[in-house]
Amino acid sequence: MMAKSIKVYTLLLACVLIYIFAFFQLKEERQRFLELNFMDFTLPSQFTGPVSLEFKGITADFLLFKFMAFLGGRVQDLKEEYPRYPDYTYQSLDAITDLDPYYWDAYLFSEMFLAWSGNPKEANKILEKARLHLSNDYRPSYYIGFNNHYFLKDFKTASKYLMEASKLPGCPYYIAALAARLSVYSFQHRDGILFLKEMLKNTNDKRARKEFELRIATLEFLEMLEKKVTEYHADFGKYPEVLEDLVKVKLIDKIPEDPYKGKFVLMSNGRVYTTSKMLPY
């Protein structure tokens, strides 16, 4: 009887040991398999939508989880070594936001993993969905505006989106200031002035009010100077060489001081610019 028990326990122990060995072996093999075989595809929402029936929300969660697991901590490696990285990221986030168009995590990822990885246009496409569905949230317009400003250098479009963002609840006041500054880069002074005056009416924040007033004053100077340059051009058939020429012909008494302590400069196309770029001194 005793001998039989020993045999059974020995067999059991052997099984456990083999299992442990096999487990580690399997783990290693599996890791190798995963490294060799990227699961770098996400089925489009035209398929996942109907197939997930009434479980679209949880499917979106699952796909986002899969996306996070895929990226893991190797975003940098993937960006450099893996050519399909932008396609996979875009397809995944596009499918997820189709399944659940209110899912902020996915939109945030599009900014983090697309825009900051050299694909701002693709990020903007996804963020446009957020702008449509989260119409009361300032962040989608802010991110699109930021991408246009920082990555695409399209200041006019950036200014438009940032202005839109700054009118939405919860938007920090400096976004409005940035929008106005960008309107200067794109020479939309009047838009900037009107926009800031509107913002000034709606804010009680002292810092914000001071900032807005400074910007409005600067924009008004820029607008006034450009008007005078146009008058000069109408009178003399050419643009002045420097702004001081306007004082010489008595179109203005003196060149106004830039509230940001910069200097107003006349450019060859007749536009006026400030060296301060409306940045705090």
């Binding site: 479980f55 929300g57 979106a60 969660d61 659940d100 899912y103 902020w104």
Partner: protein, 270 residues
């Protein structure tokens, strides 16, 4: 009326005794517990993930219950020939259909209510584990509204079970037809939208349009009852919407039960 209630109570008691019910409840409870771990994996919208997981678990349990317990409860009467005992009593076939339906609904309501209570507890625990900032859009009202809509869907789905049970004696066929109806009901809206979008600028046959239009009137639109995504983002639907769906669910159920009783009255039970 008393006879209907007595039969529904009997059906409910029979359902409670089914071991599959216990299994489904245990799976659902484990899934609900798992939400505590899974929610923490996500970065920002924790409230959304939490509501998604909980409502989906409740819906999944309800579907398992309907497909595997309720269909069996209907088929058992004929398989075990207990239907002869029931119908030999002073009970009309229409009363039999109504009693059975109410019994199935009672079973689903009580099982899912139990899961709802448990799920609410889990949500309260998870909410207390993380900062409020992650639950900005969370709303109990929306959560309960989505649950209520889910129940309205199960009222129709169980009427579908009764309808197919009155047509067919095979529980496998009833299961097949019910699942097919459920899938059609969940996807018909998307198919329609897709079809109409795809058809833009193309010459599609008028027959196709006609078939799709007819299908949307015949099949129940189950996707209308799925507001889980909206609920997870704290979007509350107005009372008019709820009233319209309550009306839709009631009328569709009454029509199905009417046709079921009509067919069942003419059926030879051998």
């Amino acid at each position: 009326m008393n006879r209907i209630f007595a039969l529904s109570w009997l059906t409910f008691k029979e359902g409670i005794r089914d071991r599959a019910l216990m299994g489904i409840c245990i799976i659902a409870l484990v899934m609900l517990f798992a939400t505590i771990v899974f929610t923490g994996v996500f970065g920002y919208d924790l409230g959304k993930v939490l509501v998604d997981l909980n409502l989906s678990t409740i819906a999944f349990a309800g579907l398992l219950l309907t497909f595997f317990v309720n269909i069996n409860l209907m088929a058992k009467d004929i398989d075990k020939r207990t239907i002869y005992c029931v119908l030999s009593k002073p009970l009309s076939r229409t009363e039999y259909i109504l009693g059975k339906y109410l019994g199935l609904i009672l079973l689903v309501c009580i099982a899912l209510f139990f899961l709802l209570v448990f799920s609410s507890g889990i949500i309260a625990i998870v909410k207390s584990m993380y900062s409020e900032i992650f639950f900005k859009n969370f709303s109990w009202y929306c959560f309960f509204q989505a649950y209520f809509y889910q129940m309205l869907m199960f009222f129709i789905l169980n009427a579908v079970v009764i309808f197919f049970s009155s047509v067919s004696t095979s529980s496998f066929l009833v299961l097949l037809f019910t699942i097919a109806t459920y899938i059609t009901g969940q996807t018909i809206e998307e198919v329609m939208v897709f079809f109409k979008k795809e058809a833009l600028g193309q010459n599609t046959s008028a027959v196709n349009h006609w078939v799709i239009d007819i299908a949307q009137y015949i099949f129940p639109n189950f996707s209308a009852f799925d507001i889980k995504t909206l609920a997870s983002h704290g979007k509350f639907l107005p009372l008019e919407h709820t009233t319209a769906l309550v009306g839709y669910s009631l009328i569709y159920t009454i029509l199905l039960l009417f046709f079921a009783s009509m067919i069942f009255n003419k059926r030879e039970i051998t």
